[in-house]
């Protein structure tokens, strides 16, 4: 395992190898190397299976962190490859030629996070959010509750009471002053 970490570090500048559990690890690479790293992992390192791809909005540091989850079925272990992209201009190389389902994930990330994968088939088509006009919905700064409150009416007749304030009102109203 550490050999792979060394190999990835030497070839692609990968860093931060972390064993999450005995059959799962993660490693970090520069986004610009992602296609090369994935091709290497698929063809040379035994990680032939792409479980899924997704992104995490690390809004605090202005980055989307991509997660590519691979599995080596023969060695029975998984590897999550991370790559940060600039949140202001999120563009990543497409890996749709490496795996037949990757384009769907890339289309999803384009719609949900606004991350672009130039060259990926149908990447600009709507995926699940038909007719959606808001910002990419999985971004942390899209407040789904505020959106919902603004878009839909509350059912009338709903009112609740905070026990502590209710008791203050009933039992010692003078303290409210």
């Amino acid at each position: 395992m550490n050999e792979l970490a060394k190999e990835l570090a030497g070839r692609y500048g990968a860093r931060g190898w972390h064993d999450i559990r005995k059959d799962l690890a993660s490693v970090e690479v520069d986004a610009i190397r992602i296609r090369d790293v994935m091709a290497y992992l698929r063809d040379e390192a035994g990680y032939g299976h792409l479980s899924f791809m997704t992104a995490i909005d690390n809004i605090e540091r202005g980055a989307f962190t991509l997660s590519y989850a691979l599995r080596d079925h023969d060695a029975r272990r998984g590897l999550i490859v991370h790559a940060d992209v600039d949140r202001a201009e999120p563009t990543v190389d497409s890996i749709h030629l490496l795996w037949g389902q990757a384009w769907t994930y890339q289309r999803e990330m384009r719609e949900w996070f606004g991350i672009d994968f130039p060259g990926s088939p149908r990447v600009d088509e709507e995926f699940v959010l038909e007719g959606w006009e808001g910002p990419p919905m999985m971004r942390r700064d899209f407040d789904s509750l505020a959106y919902s409150d603004a878009t839909y009416a509350e059912r009338p007749g709903r009112v609740t009471h905070d026990p502590a304030s209710h008791m203050r009102e009933k039992l010692y109203p003078e303290a409210a002053q």
């Binding site: 059912r155 009112v159 009933k170 039992l171």
Partner: protein, 598 residues
């Protein structure tokens, strides 16, 4: 493909002659399984309206609403959960988390109506056909989302405890405190029951977050005696705690102590707010007990110059002279008082108002006066022989212990009474090597002392004599003046009026006696109002100054307004009530001085 592939499919026909799987009965005859998660039920009497069900509900399906016929009271908000079945997903997390265990689900799942608004109701309050159903989802045995057991407080063993005046309760470690704080559900039911209405959920959150400065700040918003109250408060909050409705209440008092213990006195100023700019006004406070000093703290925060007059040689009042050091060590009390003094509050020790200075002079020299003199005069036994030299006053015994004087109690001690002073006197006597009998006219469960105090007094070796009505104190035959006979009548409890507590009635002929070296009377205390002259204009009724909601007794011409509070005035007669009175009076005085309340 062979011939079988053409013939085998016809095997379906054999089913034509079999009994069908479907049943003809109407659907409402098919009850849900015994664990089925159907419509909610709530035992509205057991429910305390804490709203934890609402907090855990991820669907926002629960509202807390006032329930008909239920008023807010100690430990019950009077609210009950209303469930909106337009949102409920029948996950039953509300049942799993319910502190009192009052929520459950029936196995009923059919309810048809044309009006969509009926599918929103208050279980247990609005009657439904499935109320009282024996079947339906209940929390499984051994399965709770909340911890019903309190984190045990490390304490000295009883044998070790009684051999010294070391503090019994050792205090929580960080891990213990955070674990205990994690039991709280932040419902806030406790706040109403606290005389000072402390922000209990707030400071418990501070413990969870490990933010001691924030915790201390919240404590001082309503109580400048966190070290003392964290040890000896009567903790009415814990009786109201919703977690206590289905387990041990959260150890609110110990968590308060934990916060105060974590911050060094030298760091208090960093955590706590600064006082306002000097106002130029002067306030006199009579009595440096918790109530007087609480008023002093909040007045000084408002920028007023405060002088506190204390007849004793040390400040602290009953916290110092009435509570033994094994419950409240002096350094802890000194820390609370030290911080108040550090703000510029001046305490004139050994100055008795009415003897050294007249109240009228305070009214002339200051802009306002606060009386917080407490109840210094012990009640007597009021039986023949009560003046016997071996009959001692409980509060005086405790005060002498505080001063480090020789008590000379002797080997056998009787303590008469059932309050906290009685327990403290008994346990102090035990620590001086005496064997102790506690005699009380009613039963143990009627004792006004904290249950913990009674339990610990017994555990440390005190013998409890219940239903003992004092008759007489006499000289012991062979040791006049050295020992005494205490004579009492055994009683039986009689329910005289329904709904009232039973009354002890002497059993004819059942007269008992015991020989004691000391008899400590701890029946109760009264005020000393001798320092108040009629010309001061303070109205007094039934030995109590009469005050308004801010504690103001008079603003008669001829001097500064006079406020009063604490044991002198209120019914609760505990430190936290005195502190609350002091705070309230400080607000009242401040308003008056600034003309806000005029």
């Amino acid at each position: 493909m062979d011939i079988k592939d053409f013939i085998a499919p016809f095997a379906v026909w054999k089913r034509a002659f079999e009994k069908p799987f479907t049943v003809k009965k109407p659907i409402d005859e098919r009850p849900g399984a015994p664990r089925y998660r159907g419509f909610h039920m709530n035992d509205a009497d057991a429910c305390v309206g804490c709203g934890t069900c609402e907090a855990i509900c991820m669907n926002n399906a629960i509202d807390l609403v006032p329930a008909a016929g239920r008023e807010a009271k100690d430990g019950d908000s009077g609210l009950r959960p209303r469930i909106d079945y337009g949102r409920c997903c029948w996950c039953a997390l509300c049942v799993d988390i319910c502190p009192s265990g009052s929520l459950s689900m029936s196995n009923e799942y059919v309810w048809i109506d044309r009006d969509p608004d009926v599918f929103r109701y208050v279980p247990g309050v609005e009657a439904k056909p499935w109320d009282g159903s024996a079947l339906g989802y209940r929390r499984a045995e051994g399965y709770r989302l909340l911890d019903e057991d309190r984190v045990p407080m490390p304490e000295l063993g009883h044998a070790e405890a009684v051999a010294s005046f070391l503090e019994l309760v050792r205090g929580y470690s960080r891990a213990q405190a955070e674990k205990e704080a994690d039991r709280c559900v932040s419902c806030g039911l406790c706040i109403a029951s606290c005389p000072a209405h402390m922000d209990i959920p707030g400071y418990i959150k501070a413990v969870r977050d490990g933010d001691m400065d924030e915790g201390l700040r919240l404590l001082y918003e309503t109580n400048p005696f966190p070290e003392a109250c964290g040890r000896v408060c009567t903790h009415r909050c814990e009786e109201a705690c919703s977690i206590g409705s289905g387990g041990d209440p959260v150890a609110i008092r110990w968590l308060k102590r934990y916060i105060a213990d974590q911050v060094e006195l030298s760091d208090y100023a960093k955590a706590l707010p600064r006082g306002a700019a000097p106002s130029g006004k002067k306030v006199a406070i009579v009595g440096a007990g918790p109530g007087g000093l609480s008023a002093a703290y909040y007045l000084s925060m408002q920028g007023h110059a405060v002088t506190v007059f204390e007849a004793e040689e040390a400040a602290g009042g009953m916290l110092r002279y009435g509570i033994p050091e094994y419950r409240l060590p002096y350094p802890a009390l000194d820390k609370d008082i030290g911080y108040i003094e550090s703000l510029g509050v001046s305490i004139s020790r050994g100055v008795s108002i009415g003897k050294d200075i007249e109240l009228s002079k305070l009214r002339t020299d200051f802009d306002a006066v606060y009386l917080s003199t407490g109840l210094p005069v012990a009640y007597g036994l009021e039986v023949p022989g009560e003046d016997h030299p071996r009959v001692l006053d409980g509060v005086a015994v405790l005060a002498r212990a505080t001063r480090g004087e020789e008590l000379g109690l002797g080997g056998r001690v009787a303590v008469i009474g059932g309050g906290n002073v009685a327990m403290d006197a008994a346990r102090t006597a035990l620590r001086h090597g005496a064997t102790v009998d506690i005699l009380y006219r009613r039963r143990e469960e009627d004792m006004p002392a904290d249950a913990d105090e009674v339990r610990e007094a017994k555990a440390e070796g005190a013998r409890l004599v219940e239903k003992a009505i004092p008759l007489e104190v006499r000289d012991a035959p062979d040791a006049a003046g050295e020992a005494a006979l205490f004579i009492w009548n055994e009683a039986t409890m009689v329910q005289k009026e329904p709904g009232k507590r039973p009354v002890p009635e002497p059993i004819p002929g059942a007269v008992r006696e015991g020989r004691y070296d000391s008899i400590i009377a701890a029946i109760g205390q009264g005020p000393d109002l001798s320092f108040i002259a009629e010309s001061d204009g303070v109205p007094v009724k039934r030995f109590r100054p009469v005050v308004d909601s801010f504690g103001m007794a008079t603003r008669a011409a001829g001097g500064a307004p006079v406020f009063a509070g604490g044991d002198l005035v209120n019914d609760r007669k505990d430190a936290i009530s005195a502190i609350a009175d002091g705070h309230r009076a400080a607000i009242g005085i401040d308003r008056l001085l600034y003309g806000k309340g005029a």
